[in-house]
């Protein structure tokens, strides 16, 4: 036994010695970050561009279609799409970046942009945008869709697709209750009144139809309520949560949200806290009259026989505000072929790409939205109009949002949804302090 232990001890000491040396000489960097050696390209061979995306399934079709079009016009470049479904996408690209081997173009969601860009993972695009050979006219885009790709004033990513938030409603249930459809200009009070009118309870006190399905403890979606209450979660300089996260405006937002669940009981309790958007199925089943969410499930809802779909603008609180969800592409700082990558990027995210994207998501280019009649469509027009009311996201003020305030805010939302007697002010004060401590530790 003793021998065994001493052997393990020896191994551990050896390990520490090796690690220790590596640390002092900065050797770990060398062991880990292997700079990719540019491979000599024979005359006339194609440049191979690797593209990392977190899209999957049918969502890949537009990617392949754009790549096909691009390759036909640019015979010197071959584009290789490397898709990874859902949550594991970041694990893979982080591993690839750490090993010095990431794709040339990377797709990132809006909330991860400051994080990646701040750590130098992407090349700034402004030089490319203004270049003589392959310029990009940035005025073609819809309002607000370039913003999430910026950091410290410079453009790092270009938009692929986006979704604002809005309220779906089921006309069948509204008609049955004789309730008028929600219109632009409605308020939180109207929302509550409508939801109460559409909530149906049976003789035993069980709710058989809910007023509005809410997205549970979904933090990035919750920013709508904060912005509409006239609050903000972080100071302008990105240094302070205390006095913001726990401000009266944020308290109002959290309290109203919690009351919809527990006091007025117009929202079904979340069926799955972890699922994106609360995991509820009442709206799909035809037992919830409204649903607050992004545009992503709209195609499925249109095919659902339980729903006669309408889309309404967000109701105003103290202010009329909305939030944007966004995906974009940038060029990896480790790319061997940044020029070729740029040529593809401006095609991918430009007018040509938008012509393809418009059949799958809202296009980012104004003229495409216009010419395909989306701006005047009774449903799509509502989504596009939300772009005129966007509030800035909390995570554009600090690259540490995801590891500081986000988990703290999530805990608050979970608490108030689960516990009808939760003290909102107290919870927010604790959350602000926790987030502040974590932020101070990191900065």
């Amino acid at each position: 036994m003793l021998k065994r232990l001493s052997f393990i001890l020896l191994i551990s000491i050896l390990a520490m010695l090796i690690a220790g040396c590596a640390t002092t000489e900065g050797g770990i960097v060398q062991t880990v970050v292997v700079t990719a050696t540019p491979t000599a390209r024979p005359e006339g061979a194609k440049i191979v561009l690797r593209v990392g995306t977190g899209d999957s399934g049918e969502g890949l079709t537009p990617h392949f279609r754009i790549i096909e079009m691009f390759e036909a016009e640019n015979p010197d470049i071959q584009v290789q799409l490397e898709p990874v479904g859902s949550g594991d996408y970041y694990a893979r690209i982080l591993t690839q970046i750490a090993a010095g081997d990431p794709p040339d173009l990377l797709q990132i969601g809006d909330d991860a942009v400051p994080m990646f860009v701040d750590r130098g993972a992407f090349l700034p695009l402004d030089g490319f945008i203004a270049s003589a050979d392959y310029p990009l006219d940035t005025s073609i885009y819809l309002p607000g869709v370039m913003e999430p790709g910026k950091w410290n004033g410079a453009q790092y990513l270009l938009p692929k697709d986006f979704s604002p938030m809005a309220i779906y409603y089921n006309k069948k249930l509204f008609d049955a209750a004789g309730a008028p459809y929600p219109q632009e200009g409605w308020t939180w009070d109207d929302l509550l009144a409508t939801a109460q009118q559409l909530t149906v309870t049976d003789a035993n006190g069980n709710v058989t139809q809910w007023g509005i399905q809410l997205p549970g403890p979904w933090t990035t979606g919750f920013e709508y309520w904060v912005a509409a209450a006239g609050g903000r979660l972080i100071s302008e300089d990105g240094s302070t949560f205390i006095g913001y996260m726990d401000s009266p405006e944020v308290q109002t937002a959290v309290q109203f949200y919690a009351d919809l669940y527990n006091k007025y009981k117009v929202a079904p309790p979340p069926a799955d806290m972890n699922a994106f958007g609360g995991g509820n199925s009442e709206f799909d089943n035809g037992t919830a009259a409204m649903r607050l969410f992004g545009r992503w499930p709209q195609a499925g809802m249109k095919q659902n026989p339980n729903i006669d779909l309408g889309v309404a603008p967000l109701p105003a609180g103290a202010e009329r505000a909305g939030v944007l969800f966004w995906g974009g592409f940038g060029i990896s700082a480790l790319s061997d072929n940044p020029e070729a990558a740029w040529r593809f990027l401006r095609y991918y995210t430009g007018k040509e790409g938008a012509e393809v994207w418009k059949d799958w998501a809202l296009p980012t280019v104004a003229s495409v939205a216009e010419s395909s009649g989306l701006s005047t469509d009774p449903v799509e027009g509502v989504w596009l109009n939300e772009l005129n009311h966007l509030a800035p996201r909390a995570y554009v003020f600090t690259p540490y949002w995801g590891q500081t305030a986000d988990p703290a805010l999530r805990r608050v939302l979970e608490s108030v949804i689960l516990d009808p007697n939760a003290n909102v002010a107290e919870l927010l004060a604790t959350a602000a302090q926790e987030a502040q401590a974590a932020l101070d530790d990191l900065r």
Binding site: A15, Y90, L94, G120, A271, M273
Partner: protein, 308 residues
């Protein structure tokens, strides 16, 4: 384990390396090479990272023992440790006993019966992790789930399972019991490995079913039980997929398993240095536990093929 220590080795100074030693190292040489290249380097590297602050995007920055010191004040570190220990105490005994019971039951029926039952019991373990967890999430669904719908038929209002911090861990435990088939298969292999003559001898001695179980089956099965115990402890301490897919640690961190927290730190909060330190703490905990189990094995594991 204890053979080398118990038999005094003859000293043969004129032969520097015994033939048996040479054969041993020759046979295990592939493993040694693999250990050095695919295991030791990553392990040493991760130890190195644990002394740095590293976001995987920019070069690591050495910070000495600060990651380890930070754990002491990290509420979620203690929470994840407590969840993991809690779950291990729930799951390991149920897996060891439940798997054994299933195997013993299967061993009672005909060969054809064993085939059918073993396949049925093993099937849930076969299904790809994610899809299987998703099905369980549906079964646990508070309104549309089969479990609560069945309970409602007999007038019981079921709990909100994965959505309720008080029941989420129990729900994950129930879910994992469907993987018992795997343990049962190992037990069954062990049961089938017991030479029939031992039972015959016991029967001649007049032992009944229960006695031959205590005197033959159980002792002969101890190496398998030992294996399952070690594996079960290591595996539960590394529980990941079910919680990652079903709850992502929530609600209110009630299912925040250690490795889930570690993964979150590494790939969602970009703190690879801290995650590596967490990994080393976990490593030391499991290692200590395993050593205790291996040591205790001296007293209760019986090896038929051992040199006496």
């Amino acid at each position: 384990m204890h053979t080398a220590a118990s038999t005094p080795r003859p000293r043969r100074r004129w032969l520097p390396v015994r033939r048996e030693t040479l054969t041993f190292y020759l046979l295990i040489s592939p493993w040694l090479i693999g250990l050095l290249s695919f295991t030791l380097i990553p392990i040493v590297a991760s130890l190195g990272f644990s002394f740095t602050r590293w976001d995987m995007l920019s070069p690591p920055e050495p910070i000495g023992l600060r990651n380890y010191a930070r754990m002491l004040d990290d509420r979620l570190f203690w929470q994840s440790l407590s969840v993991t220990v809690h779950y291990t105490l729930m799951y390991v005994p149920s897996e060891l006993i439940g798997g054994l019971l299933l195997a013993l039951l299967m061993n009672q029926v005909s060969t054809r019966g064993i085939r059918i039952f073993r396949t049925i019991y093993y099937m849930p373990s076969v299904l790809s992790g994610v899809a299987f967890v998703v099905v369980w999430m549906w079964l646990f669904h508070p309104e549309a789930g089969l479990i609560n719908a069945t309970l409602a038929m007999v007038g019981i209002r079921g709990p909100r399972w994965l959505v309720d911090p008080n029941t989420a861990l129990t729900a994950l435990w129930i879910m994992s019991l469907w993987g018992l088939g795997r343990t049962a298969v190992i037990y069954l292999a062990g049961l089938r490995g017991i030479p029939r003559e031992l039972y015959e001898a016991a029967a001649i001695d007049g032992a009944g079913t229960w006695q031959s179980f205590l005197r033959v089956t159980l002792p002969m099965l101890t190496p398998t039980i030992f294996f399952n115990l070690v594996l079960s402890v290591i595996a539960t301490f590394q529980t990941f997929t079910s919680a990652f897919v079903a709850t992502n640690g929530g609600p209110l961190d009630s299912t925040l398993f250690f490795v889930l927290y570690l993964y979150r730190k590494a790939f969602q909060e970009f703190q690879m240095g801290y995650a590596s330190a967490l990994a080393w703490v976990l490593f030391v905990i499991i290692l200590a536990l395993t050593l205790v189990i291996v040591r205790s094995g001296r007293w209760w594991v019986y090896y038929e093929g051992e040199d006496r």
